[in-house]
Amino acid sequence: MGNLKYGQQSDALNISLLDTLEVGNIRPNLQVPKRPIPFKLPKPLDAIYVLLPLFAFFLWAVSLQHLPVQNLNGLGLISGLSPRIIAALVILMISFGLALQQPQMRVSVLALHLIFVIIILYGTENLIEEAPRFAVVYRHAGYAEYIMRTGTADPNLDTYFSWPGFFVLSAFVTQVAGYQSILSYAGWAPVFNNLIYVGPMYMIFTSFTTDKRLIWLGLWFFYLTNWIGQDYFSPQGLNFFLYLVIIAILLKWFKIPPKALPLVPWQRGQSRVRFPQLVSSFFDWLEAPDPFFMTLQPWQRRGLLASLLLVYGLVVFSHPLTPFFVLPTVAALVVLRRCRPFWLPIVMAIMTGAWIFFMAQPFLVGHLSLVIGSFGDVSTNVSSNVTSRAAQGSPQHQFIALLRIIMTVFLWGLAFLGGVRRLRKVHQGTTYVLLTVAPFALIVAQNYGGEMFLRIYLFALPLMAFFAASLFYSKHTLVTRKTSLWMTVAIIAMNLVLLSGFFFTRYGNEGVDYITYAEFDGVQHLYSIAPPHSILIEAWDDSPWQYKDYEKYTSESLYDALPDAVIHANVGEVVRYIESQGNPHAYLIITRGQKAYGATYDGLPDSTMDRLEDAMLKSGDFKLIYRNPDAQILLFLGSTKGGGS
């Protein structure tokens, strides 16, 4: 396969001697010196491929202005975004397509495009909105603040303290960087995370192909389809990077070379069984060696394996779910003889088990049924992850949820077609198909609070994006090829389609995720007046609270405890609930985000929280002690009138 010969060299892309070896040959790391590559002066026309992204970035930068949340409708960020920002992105999409298809394609120009698109797609909201978005980020701030203040992580306090690695790291970095809270920099987490994802994905893709166009288009598609939003300041955002690094190390340096692969019976000529053509073709494909092997010195192998285990140590220490994505993937690669050493998944399983058994026991004692309760119940897991999400909430939210499903199916469909097209021509890629499908095994195990499908989408996304890009570059060749105008138009059109979907799928719920300064001011005021050990109650979900003094307050949500009482403004039930807590100091907070959450995700009328507030004040059991446009705080006075409804 492949029509390359040893020593052939691309003059267009600075492909080195080492990149041009036939597939299946061993690409040595140290022994073969690289041939010096002659420097070529850029042509004057090349400047346009630098000027276009620079202009787009400039246009975006001068178009950034404060975006009040009132400007957003149920379709999210797109409804309030400056048209010039969208124009800047369209320019970037076109410019990337043109630069990618140039005969003299330059990697530095593509890298410039990629950096700009990451900053614009993942950093814009942090620059035009108010406080850091996502209410859960404030709770994460509370975990880090607890560690900073107490120097401990009490696993009895919260599940996350059984896997505190990310918060320990956050607390440490925050303190030595001189910040008071992670909220000073947490808004930049999506940009930071997405930038660091580039490296391991590049390593994974280059372990499969030398075609730089395919590699860069795969990376580009990843960022146009990473709408899943798990890259905020969270353990999973970091752990996805660590997962990619582990896979990249294995594919780069620990593939099993062809001569070490065992021959199947029909290859040895020993089998008496005649397999049907289709079956033997499948097994041929399954057994076909991966391209591009690297030989390493034993000390290099040992060092890299130790590094891999060190990185996995942080995975085990910092997130309950990610080990269960890493383990099956690594086990599949080892069991099917794609990578070595054989003992790696065993050691990883021991590390995971030891952590759960010794360090996360307090969590398991109380939540074992939660962990294994839905094992094997695929239909329930799928419905809680997909159908129930798409069938709830406001019509606009349902539209966003439907669009997410459509864009997911669209990308997976592209990936399927691209994968089939590529694999038919390349006859290799078992490893990469395994990496694409392995995350789907997790849907059998758990629904993860209705989020498992989101995680599966994320963990499968790099390879899905790569195979989708393979639809455009399916030949396993070097990059010196004729570039057609139609292909350029098709790539630009695909970029624009994916970009249009991205703003709806990623930022479609921005009206909920947006946190205003006034909301956060209200929460800060609550913590300034509520004495320690008070009970703090949110009327509905999604308050930016628990960012400090995590263990000093009991935080409750009527969304979980008494949703019907909120919907029907049943104050008596709320009063009884508060009294049952046995705490004389109770505060109820209503925020803009709660109202948006109720209206968007649960289809509540906009007036629901206002009616509840009115009923509470009329009952005489509550007193309004703070109000700003986005937050109200009510003090529970006791059941002076026995409650009312």
Partner: protein, 114 residues
């Protein structure tokens, strides 16, 4: 010894010293977050990666960041579980680790040259 082989040792040693300076001597320095984050996110891992001689910049940077985060978190975590939480001491340990690692690497380079 080629000039570029000393580039990373110099960068790491200077970064370690700068991180120590803005934490222990002039904590009010304006660039403290950037200096500290650069040091914590790149240097401890790069110390190890330099020993592997991978000669691939993307792989080196990727491993350096991942290893740095792992080393930072594991050192800080060990201190926390030992009841000795102290970010200043953790930072001092990491600075020491980087300086020792770089001195060893420079020594190895000299031995190879001889």
């Amino acid at each position: 010894m080629k000039r570029w082989t000393l580039l990373w040792p110099a960068v790491i040693i200077l970064s370690a010293l700068a991180a120590g300076l803005v934490n222990f001597v002039i904590p009010g320095a304006a660039g403290r977050p950037i200096i500290v984050m650069w040091f914590l996110f790149v240097c401890p891992g790069m110390v190890l990666v330099r020993f592997f001689r991978l000669s691939e910049p993307v792989a080196e940077w990727t491993l350096a960041i991942a290893l740095s985060l792992a080393i930072d978190a594991i050192v800080a975590g060990m201190q926390m579980y030992a009841g000795l939480w102290s970010p200043a001491v953790t930072l001092a340990i990491l600075i020491g680790f980087c300086l020792v690692g770089m001195i060893v690497q420079i020594a190895l380079l000299n031995i190879q040259q001889v």
